[in-house]
Symmetry: C2
Subunit: 216 residues, 2 copies
């Protein structure tokens, strides 16, 4: 969900500039967004300024101001870039297995160090632009995850007419609630327990879509 969250590229070999897609403009974007992630991981939202990002990225500050405007614009672009990937949800062969693997990815992302995903969620309470971008990213991730439910329907694990989004929210919400809001420590059982709860509820018909009004 947030699991394919952005990482600074420092840890990966950087291909020669001329090979990077999109040329100079894309290269500048990558440099700046990597600097945002690094600053955010080290200092959190409160330490993030356009000037510190510009200095770290080696991109002229006038360019950063012109293209991203402010910290909110930088964060929104980090989140939009995070959604521009090929992430697909896990495919383990069972509904409960897929949901548990998904929840493990979410837990890993939420407790990762440096706490970039957590810092981006916190920033969404501060910046309207970051808020909108965070919501776009979540919407996109939940939409991609609907394939988990389609596969379970094809395997006859679930009835046709299961509300995929409600099921996915039920499966993932306890992980977010405990780690982001209640701030309880992560646990090895949390991802699987939340997955099992949602799968059991699904088998019991909790996410059945009622037939359209007028049907007999």
């Amino acid at each position: 969900m947030t699991s394919s969250a952005p990482e600074p590229e420092g840890a990966r070999p950087v291909p020669p500039p001329q090979r990077r897609p999109g040329g100079r403009s894309a290269r500048i974007r990558r440099q700046v967004l990597d600097a945002v992630l690094a600053e955010l991981g080290e200092h959190g939202y409160d330490g993030l300024t356009v000037d510190s990002v510009a200095a770290r990225s080696g991109v002229h500050r006038a360019t950063v101001y012109r293209r991203w405007g402010d910290v909110g614009g930088l964060l929104a672009d980090v989140l939009d870039a995070a959604g521009d990937d090929a992430w697909q949800p896990p495919d383990t062969g069972s509904l409960e297995g897929d949901l548990a693997a998904l929840n493990r990815e979410i837990q890993d992302a939420l407790v990762a160090e440096p706490p970039i995903v957590a810092a981006l969620i916190a920033a969404s309470f501060r910046s309207e632009q970051a808020d909108h971008a965070q919501r776009r990213l979540w919407e996109d991730r939940y939409a991609r995850c609907e394939v988990i439910v389609r596969r379970a329907v094809e395997r006859a694990e679930l009835p046709l007419g299961t509300d995929a989004r409600r099921l996915l929210i039920a499966a993932t919400a306890p992980v977010y609630h405990q780690l982001v809001l209640l701030r309880t420590p992560p646990g090895p059982d949390l991802p699987g327990q939340a997955a099992r709860t949602a799968a059991l509820a699904a088998s019991a018909g909790a996410f059945a879509v009622p037939p359209p009004a007028g049907d007999t």
Copy 2:
């Protein structure tokens, strides 16, 4: 949960000062905390300062600084005061009914205007003191809600050895997740659907506590 959240007292008739429990110190605390709530509702965390709270409360600013220190101290005391009440979870006669009523209280609190509960949650991402106090409040509320599960066990709706806290988290997490993080609009079906999902999962044994190791 957050439902018995603090309200400014302006809307209620204020009893004569000499009747208020605790005397002058308690009266000053109430004046100051009411001012925090009013400022928070109007201006959010970013508009909250010790000086604006002091001015609004009519309490000398030196007193406010001495007793509460800073904005974090003020917010923490608002949250601690909110937990110092007689709130009990709804008792409707069924597990699903209790959880649905609880979720309606949570949804109402999260979407209330002025958005005091939402602002306190947002503030918990900014201030460590507010964070700790928010967590204490949630822990206290979830502990009080365990009676919902005990009653369901007594009615034989649930087996003995149901993990009350996990059940309560599963029931309430989708409401928090959608309204606080995903920021989807509130809906009349959300509280009941989340309650029904958790109740169905509970009936299917999702929250059964495994027997202690060594039992046969």
